[in-house]
Amino acid sequence: MVGTRVGNRIIGAESPVTVGWENLPKVEGGPFKRFFFTWFQPVTFFALLAFWYYAPNDIAKASTAIGIGIGFKVLLLGLEWVNPRYKSWQLTWKELVTDLFYVGLGYTVLRIVDDFIGDGVMIGWVQEQWSLDKFSWFTGLPLLLQAFLISFIFDFGQYWMHRGMHNWHPLWLTHAPHHFVTQLNINKGAVGNPVELFLIGLGIGGFFDFLPRAFLLAGTFGLTVSIYQHINVRFNTPNWWRFLFNTIEHHSVHHSRDYEATRSNYSGTWIIIDRMFGTCVDGEAEILGIEGGRRMSIRETMHYPFTEGWKAIKAKFGRKGGFAEPDAVPAE
């Protein structure tokens, strides 16, 4: 495989990756289908922004956001059925159960952990120590600017956390299980080792005393932009959207079986952050996964960072530090 030169890198030398928007397929079908899958993303984005901007106070609350979020996900699952990007990514019963298991962990066990040692606790402690609640000046800014800043600052943090995971072995061990997925579906964002899900969920947004409405508006960026990272739907996404926001195309390149391609498109929502730091690759890939595309079981996903970490420690310090077993395989 030859691959394609993108800057100083060769993308797609190990596994097929399509590079460049002009080379991507378009939505096929009748005029209504093409119209629907061209306008769906921008219309839902602006409609939800307008909804949260103007909704009365008794409607603009977290429970409404949760309801809309669940309803929107069900709708997107339906769209995956109607207009799949790849047949090989089609959701099966087993994949749905597996994905929902990880989603369920996020709503239950991880929530408990977050309450005890997550960002909420840490931010509360820091605020108590240094009175960071003085940042409330921020609430005087226009709502949409607040929402943009919450989303962008959070994503900026996520970008570096994610990039760190791909460049520092201990962090990579927590993130690697997520890269064993061989298909992308709406809930695949939740698939991974709980340690990673905990780390990626840490944010600094809580330092600011934002208006709740600004939080709900910022959530719209998550619900109507970053949610498409793992969707198996073919859209005719507008060029301005692709320039600003992360898309399934970008994220499929990141999940490709091509090593060099995985070292790109780290942001969750704002692909412009990748453009700023030179890590953006515009394109798409169908063949995903690592280690030849083998599936990682739930059991292995749970212990992988620890068992692989232990192996790495033994390999590095075993001989000097006395970790090595006396009957260990002789060194080369």
Binding site: K94, V97, I112, D115, T182
Partner: protein, 224 residues
């Protein structure tokens, strides 16, 4: 299971009472069914058509006479039999003619069957953690109250909208509610919702997957 050791499950004697008892519940994750062969199709031809379905990553299979046994650890989603990790398929002669009989084992079905119990457990854990945190908060509040009895509590500030938002007609924020109203009560609702969801998914999967596998075998045998 290796091909050499594999036996037809219909002819297998129960080696112990435990195994006999297990047989009453193993329908939870075992699928036993059969598909009649098209008229005139030989056993060899039928297995020749079925065998390529098992040429998948991480799968070992062995054909002995009129039987195929297969096993794998974690089949990929693109695998047509991805729900089943082990299985035996054999061609047997019946009164109605030759039939493909199969016995498939699915850890995924068993896992899904057990998930509702696991999530009820998570729910109990959430309640316990929530109650613990509430007790801690209550104790802290009492301790703080004793220290700052004289200090007048700051009135909650009403946040003001930016003039641009006022001009565009966004609703003005209301006075923040009192602490007591804000306090979250421990809740296990999310865990129970997932528990119910997995119970429904198990029922769906227990009917859907055997139906799908039967359809795939039939299509293979008929050469579609």
């Amino acid at each position: 299971m290796s091909g050499a050791d594999a036996q037809n499950v219909w002819e297998q004697p129960s080696p112990s009472a435990f195994r006999m008892n297990l047989r009453y519940i193993d329908w939870i994750w075992h699928v036993r069914d059969s598909v009649p062969l098209p008229e005139g199709q030989s056993a060899e031809e039928a297995l020749d058509r079925i065998e390529p379905m098992l040429d998948q990553m991480d799968t070992t299979h062995e054909r002995i006479g009129h039987m195929i046994a297969f096993t794998r650890k974690a089949p990929v989603p693109q695998d047509p039999l991805s729900v089943f990790e082990d299985g035996e398929l054999s061609i047997v002669a019946t009164d109605q003619g030759r039939t493909l009989r199969y016995h498939l084992v699915s850890k995924a079905l068993l896992f899904c069957f057990l998930l509702p119990v696991l999530f009820i457990g998570f729910g109990q854990l959430m309640l316990a953690a929530g109650n613990y945190q509430m007790a801690q908060a209550e104790a802290k509040k009492k301790a703080d109250g004793a220290q700052k009895k004289d200090k007048k509590k700051d009135e909650a500030k009403v946040l003001e909208l930016n003039p641009i938002d006022k001009m565009l007609g966004a609703p003005a924020p209301e006075k923040p509610k009192k602490d007591k109203e804000k306090e979250r009560k421990p809740s296990a609702t999310a865990a129970y919702v997932f528990s119910a969801l997995f119970a429904i998914l198990y029922v769906v999967g227990r009917f859907l997957e055997p139906w799908l596998v039967r359809r795939r075998f039939r299509a293979r045998l008929e050469g579609a």
